[in-house]
């Protein structure tokens, strides 16, 4: 039974979503758009409510559909700039680069895949480690990038989360992670599985030191990422309608031989079953974090509430 399946549905949806990724061979929606004579690039169709919406308006609206409030995928960089004071932050551990320890090759070489995704995202692996202030409170945020191999976790992602936690320990500041991942990366085999233990251990060190760990879940958070650090937050927050779970939906369907009930494995489903603390709209995420950080802080923000 594979539990580290990337959520195949989410992955294919992402690539079909014409908003953020331009592809050479135009996906179906584009063709439909043409029939409807919508100027390409200016208008998009919401994959949730299927309404045609003005792209600029979506972008102005934190990449949320103005008609149905669906939260579109956004890059890790964009997420960070929405959360930090003035949208400013420093990245660290950018110099960590994946290798190919197993010389993994399926229909394609892992090495080549890494190069492709690096070119596509401008990142070396599926995560950005960053430091800055939110409401004046200094924090480390490790944000996963789904656009890099489905946000899958292998050596570099694991190491960067642990180093992020270690930076928090050294500076006595909270850790925030933003999960956006289909799970452990197959191409690094058992080493990827061990990252579940490694990241969970690092989170444990924060707990020992009495430092808060806030875990933000976004669409999707599944497999080895949900079954490790992402589900271990002192506070667990999810974006609305995010797919969160352990096993991939197709695997479950195949195992139980029936279709999944509507809303299964959504953030709302998890909230109802007691698995997460709250669902927060992207537009309120920053202010929510500030409230939580100020609760855990020992005093007023050292840099002042505006991060000045």
């Amino acid at each position: 039974m594979d539990h580290t399946l990337w959520s195949a549905a989410a992955l294919s949806e992402l690539w079909r979503n014409p908003v953020w990724f331009k592809r050479e061979n135009k996906p179906k929606e584009k063709i439909e758009n043409k029939k409807l004579q919508i100027p390409q690039g200016l208008w998009i169709r919401c994959k949730n409510c299927k309404e045609i919406i003005y792209k600029k308006e979506v972008e102005r609206n934190f990449d949320i559909c103005p008609k149905c409030q669906y939260h579109f995928y956004i890059s890790a960089q964009k997420r960070l700039s929405l959360l930090y004071d003035q949208g400013e932050y420093n990245t660290f551990d950018d110099h960590l680069q994946p290798t190919d320890p197993l010389k993994f090759r399926d229909r394609k070489k892992y090495r080549d895949r890494l190069k492709e995704y690096a070119a596509l995202t401008g990142l070396k692996d599926a995560i950005i480690s960053s430091e800055g202030t939110i409401g004046g409170y200094r924090v480390v945020i490790c944000a996963m990038e789904f656009g890099f191999m489905g946000g899958s976790m292998a050596s570099v992602v694991g190491e960067k989360i642990v180093r992020g936690a270690e930076r928090c320990l050294a500076e006595k500041i909270p850790l925030i992670t933003i999960a956006c991942s289909g799970g452990a990366r197959m191409q690094e085999g058992i080493i990827s599985l061990m990252q579940m233990a490694k990241t969970s251990a690092a989170v444990g060190k924060l707990a020992e030191a009495g430092l808060p760990f806030i875990s933000i879940l976004t669409d999707p958070t599944t497999g080895g990422v949900s079954a490790s650090f992402a589900m271990l937050g002192d506070i667990i927050i999810s974006e609305p309608k995010a797919l969160i779970g352990f096993a991939g939906q197709r695997v479950i369907e195949q195992t139980i031989g029936q279709e999944l009930p509507p809303g299964f494995q959504t953030a709302e489903f998890l909230l109802a079953h007691g698995m997460i603390d709250m669902i927060v709209d992207r537009r309120q995420m920053r202010s929510t974090l500030i409230k939580i950080l100020s609760f855990f802080a020992l005093g007023p923000p050292p840099q002042g509430p505006d991060g000045q």
């Binding site: 039974m1 580290t4 994946p98 399926d106 579940m196 139980i256």
Partner: protein, 316 residues
């Protein structure tokens, strides 16, 4: 199993020849001798160079000894404990108190079923959250009374079902991994058959990880991997090789500490002998760790997991 078929054929030829030997005399006896020699040669040659996929099949062999088989041979006075005190009792995981020589220990493991009926009640060794939570409860008990923990790993993976997801499969696995990292007693894990991904790791955060010669341990099943990466589930053979999931691979990758040699042809050909090999290994590990202070034990365990990962640090 495909590669076992040739022995079945040879065995029946030998049996036939043995019957004929009484009628035919010398010539048949010579042929019998030749066949027996051939069988032995083929047998040794086959098992000397098993492919990763063949080892996977052996690890899943329906006659392979399971956790309770090992417990019954290795330990005395096993007292099985039940339930997670929260929701239910998952029989895909067994656990309890046991005696091993002069050591009092806590034993926990995945439990597959023998035959269809038992397999359904054991859910083929695929645990639900209550199984992992039962395991954690018993491990906490071990910590409270300072008893070493022995875990047996043999699962296709955590159960991918509706109820399992509803009750927090991801959280249950994460919690076990997290808690095991900081338990103040020695933990020895033995992969006896299949180490299926997160469901295996949820019992497998340990100070010593031992693997049976024909056991496997992987981030994903070769079938699942083949379906996703090759878009063809029949490429499991290739995926098994690519994933580096055999005991031999994991020893090289420093995930496993030791390989426990199996009787030729696999553990199922001599479960008693296998169990004694496992028993000796557990005693050896217990002796090594009894000299460590609790703090040193935890420090070593943290360092062990901290160092997993292969990457390059570019000079800026």
């Amino acid at each position: 199993m495909d590669f076992e078929k040739q022995f079945v054929e040879l065995d029946s030829a030998i049996k036939e020849m043995r019957q004929l030997a009484t009628e035919w005399g010398d010539s048949a006896r010579q042929e019998l001798k030749r066949l027996k020699k051939k069988r032995q040669k083929v047998f040794y040659e086959t098992y000397a160079k098993l492919t990763p996929w063949q080892r996977t099949l052996l690890a899943r062999h329906p006659d392979r000894p399971y956790t309770l088989d090992y417990i019954n041979i290795i330990f005395s006075d096993f007292i099985e404990l039940h339930g997670d005190r929260k929701f239910g009792d998952d029989s895909a995981i067994v656990g309890g108190l046991a005696q091993l020589g002069s050591h009092k220990v806590v034993v926990i493991g995945h439990q597959k079923g023998r035959g269809t009926k038992e397999n359904i009640s054991r859910n083929f060794g695929m645990a639900s959250p209550e199984g992992f939570r039962k395991a954690l409860r018993i491990m906490k008990l071990a910590e409270k009374f300072r008893k070493p923990i022995i875990t047996f790993i043999d699962t296709p993976g955590a159960y991918p079902g509706l109820g399992a997801e509803e009750r927090g499969q991801a959280e249950a696995i994460a919690r076990n991994i997290y808690e095991m990292m900081f338990l103040r007693v020695p933990i020895i894990s033995i992969v006896t058959g299949e180490g299926g991904s997160g469901g295996a790791l949820a019992l497998g955060v340990a100070d010593r990880l031992l693997m049976l010669e024909n056991s496997v341990y992987s981030v994903i099943s070769p079938e699942g991997c083949a379906a996703i990466l090759w878009k063809d589930h029949t490429k499991a053979n290739e995926a098994a090789t690519a994933l580096h999931m055999t005991a031999q691979d994991l020893l090289k990758l420093k995930v496993a500490d030791e390989i426990l040699k199996e009787p030729i042809g696999g553990a199922h050909r001599n479960p008693t002998m296998m169990a004694h090999i496992v028993r000796r290994a557990i005693l050896r590990c217990l002796a090594q760790m009894s000299r460590l202070s609790e703090d040193k034990l935890l420090e070593d365990r943290y360092r062990r997991y901290r160092q997993y990962g292969v990457f390059r640090e570019l000079v800026e």
